[in-house]
């Protein structure tokens, strides 16, 4: 059997070479032919295209990113930390044997014609699953793994893709959200209006378009707000980009990020970005399967795939997704307007459901705009209900991560720590990492919590004269004590629903995504 391997470690002066030597020894003992590319400090001797093409299996023994791993796409892959290769090289060799056999078996089973090269095989069968079972897929190498393993349950793969996107997004949520919260604490609720433009307490502020005027017009709180808002604007593009990256590796990044940016621009929100990221990954994967003459193949990788996939995804996001969303928003707004004067408690519950559904997405926007419109026409109760309901999702999830730590991944628990502050500041987006990682369980749960809070806020007749700011503008809230009680009730309901939902059909909490370079998973 022919094996190619890549070894890499953070410093690139020791483990990279020890792993290479250990693999070479073990392969020779087992009677296999192996070539190892050491991606270390001494400079790598690159595997030739022919060596890669002839290989029956690929071993990645690495604690850092493998360079140009798309060279190995569609090969059966075994992934392990570099230490594993040094300590147990024989185990990796035998896993490579299994992976190659499984791939060959899959080729036969799928009735692949004899003319087709093994490259066609959906590869990595068994290998990825095995790596996870042994806890081997940790650290750098696991992310962006073209986890096409036939042995891995589709739901697990989907969750790994989502978790990769989420793990890259969380620092943006935390940094941006905390900066915005600080801005509200220092500058009060009006800071958002001063920066983005709008009306506050009867005074109209124009948007600050020239950043050199930012300090003069909005103060340093405004600067904090602007920085935070900028970090936040990358939240959906990063999510979408790295979901696509997890599916299709580096070529997935461009169409994924562009889909995310367009999801923001069309108002499709994080659910739009999530869908865009998954679709972008699928489009790139599909494009890779088109067989071209060797001469054209190079151009395809460098220009063709990024160009075509980005074009396809852009058209899809703007025309197919964008317009229906705008139409749906108009419809929802009309419907809400028609409900004015209906049962206030039911209206509060409905607004709560909408606020929590997509957290900054189109439905949330309709509910929020409805609240702000109420504020402008003097109906302060709707604004209070909307803000209270919007504070619930991050708080409920923060509470859930504290009550049952084991149900959440490491990165989710870290997101939970920031979510307290984000929730208290009415930054509903703090819940997105949780919702993106496990939408079917999380979104209904927090909708329930927000609905309870929205209804209770209306029932007790709380009012708000502020459109932003959360607990930091409690001075502008009418009936604050019962308002806080309404929020607390929704948080308890939401957290309880999340825990119950996560408990049912519980899957092992798998950090499908890596911790970021330079951090440890502990």
């Amino acid at each position: 059997m022919r094996i190619v391997a890549v070894t890499a470690c953070p410093t690139g002066i020791a483990h990279t070479y020890m792993a290479a030597e250990a693999l070479e020894q073990a392969a020779a003992e087992a009677g296999h032919h192996i070539v190892v590319e050491t991606q270390g400090a001494a400079g790598a001797v690159r595997l030739s295209a022919a060596q890669v093409a002839q290989a029956d299996a690929v071993i990645f023994a690495a604690d850092t990113e493998i360079q140009d791993r798309e060279r190995f796409a569609a090969k059966p892959v075994v992934i392990a930390p570099v230490q594993r290769a040094i300590n147990h090289p024989r185990e990796l060799i035998s896993r490579a044997e299994e992976a190659a056999e499984a791939a060959a078996g899959a080729a036969t089973a799928e009735g692949t014609g004899p003319g087709d090269a093994p490259e066609d095989v959906t590869a990595g069968a068994g290998a990825d699953g095995t790596a996870e079972d042994r806890g081997a897929a940790v650290g750098g190498p696991a992310h962006g793994a073209p986890s096409e393993g036939a042995g891995v349950h589709p739901a697990t793969r989907l969750r790994q893709w989502l978790m990769t996107g989420v793990s890259y997004m969380i620092p943006f949520v935390a940094a941006g959200g905390i900066l915005i919260a600080l801005a509200f604490m220092i500058g009060g609720a009006e800071v958002a209006v001063k920066v983005d433009g709008g009306t506050w307490q009867g005074r109209t502020y124009p948007e600050v378009t020239d950043l050199s005027e930012l300090v003069d017009r909005a103060g340093y709180a405004g600067v904090l707000f602007k920085i935070g808002a900028t970090a936040f604007s990358m939240l959906v593009p990063i999510l979408a980009g790295f979901i696509a990256y997890a599916i299709a590796d580096r070529p997935g990044l461009v169409p994924g990020v562009v889909s995310g940016l367009l999801a923001v621009a069309t108002g499709a929100g994080f659910l739009g970005g999530l869908a865009g990221g998954l679709l972008a990954g699928a489009v790139v994967t599909a494009l890779r399967r088109i067989h071209l003459p060797r001469a054209a193949a190079g151009v395809m990788t460098v220009v063709g795939i990024p160009l075509v996939s980005t074009l396809v995804m852009g058209l899809l996001m703007i025309i197919v997704i964008g317009e229906p969303i705008a139409a749906a928003q108009r419809g929802l707004t009309d419907w809400l307007d028609g409900l004015s004067g209906a049962n206030a408690i039911l209206l509060g519950a409905l607004l709560g459901l909408m606020m929590a559904f997509d957290m900054g997405g189109p439905v949330n926007k309709v509910a929020y705009t409805f609240g702000v419109a109420g504020l402008a026409s003097g109906d302060l109760e709707v604004m209070a209900a909307v803000m209270a309901a919007g504070m619930v999702p991050p708080l409920a999830l923060a509470l859930a991560t504290v009550v049952r730590r084991a149900l959440f991944t490491d990165s989710e628990r870290k997101a939970g720590e920031a979510a307290w502050l984000l929730g208290a500041s009415f930054i509903t987006e703090g819940a997105i990492p949780f919702a993106a990682a496990d939408p079917l369980r999380v979104i209904p749960s927090i909708m329930a919590g927000s609905a309870v809070t929205g209804a209770l806020s209306m029932a007790v007749g709380a009012t708000s004269r502020a459109p932003h700011g959360g607990l930091w503008v409690i001075g502008l809230i009418g009936n604050p004590a019962l308002y806080l009680a309404a929020i607390a009730a929704g948080v308890l309901v939401g957290a309880a629903c999340v825990l119950v939902a996560k408990h049912f059909g519980r899957r092992p909490v798998l950090e499908g995504a890596p911790t970021l370079p330079g951090t440890t998973s502990r």
């Binding site: 470690c9 410093t11 330079g518």
Partner: protein, 150 residues
């Protein structure tokens, strides 16, 4: 080219309570020979690396290492500990400790030598020879012989 290792960089009676002490003890030998210009700075770099992932290898090996601006020449220090020092390997403490110090911008040829040393460490026969070495010079000769003709 200056020697990768000299008898001054070998400690056959390494005594250390933990891996940080072991690294400090070996690094101090490099600092004394001006291979390391700032001992604490180098130790911080080595510790950074160690915290990313323990450097212990099964079979009683610890290889603390760093590329650092505080290193002048690629250098290897070797310590042998009768009691063993825990470097985080699954099968217990290490009795053979290799401290690898590489300059931040080392030339590829220097790094090639370090790479070939790292490769030898995987070989059981090399480890056994190091365990049997009678004095510091024997270790130096052994290593120079293994990296072959340099």
């Amino acid at each position: 080219m200056p020697d990768l290792i000299t008898a001054d960089f070998v400690d056959l009676d390494l005594e250390a309570a933990d891996r940080h002490e072991a690294v400090r003890s070996l690094a101090a030998r490099l600092a004394a020979a001006d291979r390391v210009t700032d001992l604490d700075g180098f130790l911080a770099d080595a510790r950074d690396r160690e915290e990313q992932m323990p450097t212990g290898i099964e079979g009683g090996i610890g290889i603390p290492h760093a590329r650092s601006v505080h290193v002048t020449l690629p250098t290897l220090a070797f310590g042998r500990s009768a009691d063993g020092v825990d470097f985080g390997a699954a099968d217990g403490p290490a009795d053979l400790v290799f401290l690898i110090a590489a300059p931040a911008g080392g030339h590829a040829e220097h790094l090639d030598i370090l790479a070939s040393i790292a490769r030898r460490l995987v070989h059981v026969s090399f480890r056994q020879a190091l365990r049997r070495a009678v004095d510091a010079q024997a270790v130096v000769d052994l290593i120079n012989k293994e990296v072959g003709g340099r």
